[in-house]
């Protein structure tokens, strides 16, 4: 491991720690089991959505439909999965397969992912409105119980984040399949030359993204107990920001699952931190953007220095 690759994970960790320290300094009462859970509660679905986005960015594409997709999943979870679990589950599985098919189509027809996913975002949004024209529905009890479980020592949000990070790290960084998937992002041609079907690999990456998107939508309903067709639209940009904040690159298959989870936590925390500052919600999006720019600038400086030495 050289310094450069170590910086990749150091920076997200440092930004989270700095932000966390600032939050505790502003609001010492947040430094408790309950406080931490409250701070990071909403980070769980965002972290899952970030994982979904990471699967796509890993193969050099970008997914603009993720927010709408998570919203659709939330709507299905709050209605069909509650009333007719078998049908609901079948729908969610079908959505994952649809994602895989979308990936295969993008590769086979050489379409730009950014356009296809933008188009699909309206399809998902339409379905979501069709299922749940007005906010409503309810969370299945087991899901609600799962999302409000109180494990010993650390709050659910923290445990869940660690679990997500460990599982995706094993899947993407350690496993043989994950290595080949990252290889697609690094040099598609050499992967194809080695005899792999890039079509299948892309479908696999998109399928994984769909899977994590479904988890994100379900986790969201478990927390909010109801759904709405526009509930997760911000997730598209949040997830992209999370991946980048966590040390990922837009191209080249450079992603870090652990970093991306930390990025998602940082973004969630940034929102809470800004409310502690009594900043009007109108300014929060801009302030979040400023934090993002700050971290990316730091990364650029580090990597330039790394390149010099």
């Amino acid at each position: 491991m050289n310094t450069l690759s170590r910086y990749r994970i150091i920076l997200p960790v440092v930004s989270l720690v700095v932000l966390l320290a600032a939050t505790f300094w502003m609001q010492p009462r947040a430094m408790s089991y309950f406080g931490l859970n409250l701070l990071f509660n909403l980070a769980v679905p965002i972290a899952l959505a970030t994982m979904a986005q990471m699967m796509i960015i890993m193969v050099n594409d970008i997914d603009l439909s993720l927010g709408a997709f998570v919203s659709l999943v939330a709507c299905i979870t709050a209605t069909y999965l509650l009333d007719t679990p078998v049908l609901g589950l079948a729908m969610l599985v079908a959505l994952i397969l649809a994602y895989a098919a979308m990936g295969a189509m993008i590769h086979a027809l050489e379409l730009p992912a950014i356009v296809v996913t933008l188009g699909m975002s309206f399809v998902w949004g339409g379905f979501a409105l069709f299922i749940l024209p007005s906010p409503g529905g309810a969370s299945p009890d087991w899901l609600r119980a799962l999302m409000t479980v109180k494990p010993p020592f650390a709050p659910m949000a923290v445990v869940a984040s660690i679990l997500i990070a460990v599982v995706t790290h094993l899947l993407i960084i350690r496993s043989a399949l994950g290595t080949v998937l990252r290889g697609v992002g690094g040099n598609t041609r050499s992967v194809a030359r080695a005899g792999w079907s890039v079509l299948k690999l892309k479908a696999c990456a998109y399928g994984l993204a769909g899977f994590f998107g479904v988890l994100a939508g379900m986790a969201l309903v478990g927390l909010t107990t109801s759904a709405d067709a526009n509930i997760a639209l911000r997730y598209t940009l949040l997830s992209i920001a999370g991946v980048i904040l966590g040390g990922g690159e837009f191209v080249g298959g450079k992603v870090s699952p652990v970093g991306a989870v930390i990025g998602a936590l940082t973004l969630t925390l940034a929102a809470s931190f800004l409310s502690f500052l009594r900043l009007s919600p109108d300014w929060q999006i801009g302030a979040q953007g400023a934090i993002l720019i700050l971290v990316l600038t730091a990364r650029l400086i580090f990597s330039r220095k790394g390149a010099e030495t």
Binding site: M1, N2, L4, S5, V180, G186, S190, A194, G252, G253
Partner: protein
Amino acid sequence: MTDQAPAPIVTLTEAKKHFGPVRALDGVTLAIEPGDCIGLVGHNGAGKSTLVNLINGGISPSAGSIKFDQGDDALSAGVRSVFQELSLCPNLTVAENLRISHHELKGFGWRRPARAEIRASLDEIFPDHGIDADTEVDTLSIAERQMVEIAIAFAPRGTEARLVILDEPTSALDAGIAGQLIAHVKRFCADGGAVIFISHMLGEVFDVASRITVLKDGKIVAESLAEDFTREALVDAMGHVAAQEAETSGALQSFGPEVVRTPQGLAAREGEIVGLSGLAGHGQAAALAQLFLSRSSAWRSSKSPDVVFVAGDRQRDGVLPLWSILKNISISILKQGSRFGLVDTNVEANAASDWKARIGIRTEDTNNPVLSLSGGNQQKVLFARALASTAPIVVMDDPMRGVDIGTKQDAYSMLRSEAARGRTFLWYSTETEEACQCDRVFVFRNGVISAELTGADITEEKILEASFEMQQAS
């Protein structure tokens, strides 16, 4: 080539490959047997890359056949390639890159055997390589990457390497490391493996190859045991016999003052056509790009630019595919014809129809989309775009790529007449014949100028001599 030879690993019979009208490979018959080390030489566009891609299964032949002794495809026959452009995944570690091409590694704990295998392969080929199997490839130097790629090609990977194709493997390596590679290739062939070795360093080729095959214009023009060739014979075999070219640039014109001089040594005088030659990818395009960028501003465009650029890679940095022919031509002169920042459509249309007539772009209407033209005519549009501006220096990056002979003749005469009016041309061409049209030729090798030829010295033979390293590889 003995009678009791074992079955060839790969047999090509009259293999042809056409890209549109271009005959990249025009009927090649070749058999590679275990123990063979074939030195494959030829000038740019001779068909080396196409031949390599046919053998390793990257493309399939337009006609003829390729047969392997084991399995149906190159992979199962144990054919491995090291490409000229690096083809590792830069975001993965050395061991992970081995995994990409090693399908047997699966399940938990695949990393340990992967590390061991790549380490063993590196140790065997390059003792004291100092490469850690867990470093990410993008933190390695170019030479180290090349070493890793070679090591992966020779690694067993679940089967065994039986034929390894090395395309310019030593271009990024220093002499010591290259020596290690050559020693390994010899060992590998002695143990019954086969190698196709492509290099511009003839010393190396003579050192390592048992047989030498010379490609020219998609055909094998000479094939014999290495000891039957002399260097001179090899260069002769690669070249065209183009004796009647003498009429060009015979009369020494008087040129104006020197207008270009780069630190690298590239120079040009007013009214001169300067050629950049040598094997493709030896720094010519970079030299031109550097010159162009140093003479133009990234911030402001000028009404009278100093340098204009004619792109050879039309798709990548040439045509604006969605625009009409007219718009494609006039983009370089928008400023000249504009008033108050608005485009004067009359000036634009006049310039387009003027250049359409002067260069002979074959279209009824310059408002047709540019993609309705053939490749050669698209290139004429790019010429028109450059020449329509007032720039005194025109930089051309292999502009005749994939252009038919008629268009080429038109372009040559146009260049001559423009040069006579005092314009300076810097012309990188992969075709030696075109270099022979120039007043002065700089031959590039490994990113530096290896020869400057003028007047009667500009011959194909001299250019080839300067393109290939003649001295013995140490």
